[in-house]
Symmetry: C2
Subunit: 149 residues, 2 copies
Amino acid sequence: MKEPLPKFSYLSPMLSKKTKYGLKALAHLASQKDNRPVQIAEIAKHENISQKFLESILLSLRKTGFLGSKKGKGGGYYLIKDPKEILMTDVMRILEGPIAMVPCVSLNFYEKCDDCPDENTCSVNKLMLKVRDANLAVYRNNTLADLII
Amino acid sequence: MKEPLPKFSYLSPMLSKKTKYGLKALAHLASQKDNRPVQIAEIAKHENISQKFLESILLSLRKTGFLGSKKGKGGGYYLIKDPKEILMTDVMRILEGPIAMVPCVSLNFYEKCDDCPDENTCSVNKLMLKVRDANLAVYRNNTLADLII
DNA sequence: TGTTTACTCTATTAAATTGATAGGATAATT
DNA sequence: AATTATCCTATCAATTTAATAGAGTAAACA
């Protein structure tokens, strides 16, 4: 007895909204002619993002050295580095977390899997190592500049 | 003011336990000399998996045509196809769901992102398309046979 | 024929995470 | 001093995950 493919509703997509919003905001800032500060409200409106949620995302991008901010009138957020110098590996690690799908194959956040006795004979480890390498290759070969048309 | 890299505890790894357990169980079955039925309890014990949880995973793999089952004494689960014929794309789609990280770049589960006005100018779409292709390449080029030592 | 074995199915649960919101504090500009 | 806009803390509902319980069903075997 076979069943049809299960219907995934994508109610919980694998890419978090945080990352999605963060990427869109960065791309928005990178699209500015000069590097003028852009207000949260403007980004939120233009990119269809909850303003309060976006606030916390931009804040974390500022604290990790991607963005600068200016308070008061005419204030807002702006890119600190050239978009061509902003690697997706760094952005993704800040916004989404580890790139590896299991801790035991993570470069920056390695942890032993608590349930796995031996990584060398683990089939999951073997597959996820290849997946990690494939993803890393993409993120390393793409900068913020590559995301804007 | 900069912050150190956030510490991801990997409390919620991106690969679900369901997929992890499912892969391990499939690999366990593929490692059997003959294709004899293996009891749930044996797999669970050998692979450090909650037996009841594993039950439901194996059931879904049976209903989707990967496994056969035999009841009663000497019963258990067994592979229906040759491990070399079992593509990781198919396994991952059953266990984990869509391979794409956003619905708007999914081959098998396409959906328009509700918050995005135009996919053609979406920076997230652009990046996630590349990620999907990279992941697909890995999953297409690996079979269950490739997971066992 | 009856007992044992082992898969099948439904339902429930605690814990964690996500995404969103509210409200006020702070700092810079005018 | 007043306005603007970032900064920070706390809270919230909804969802998902992982695990467990318990009863039902079918096959093998003595």
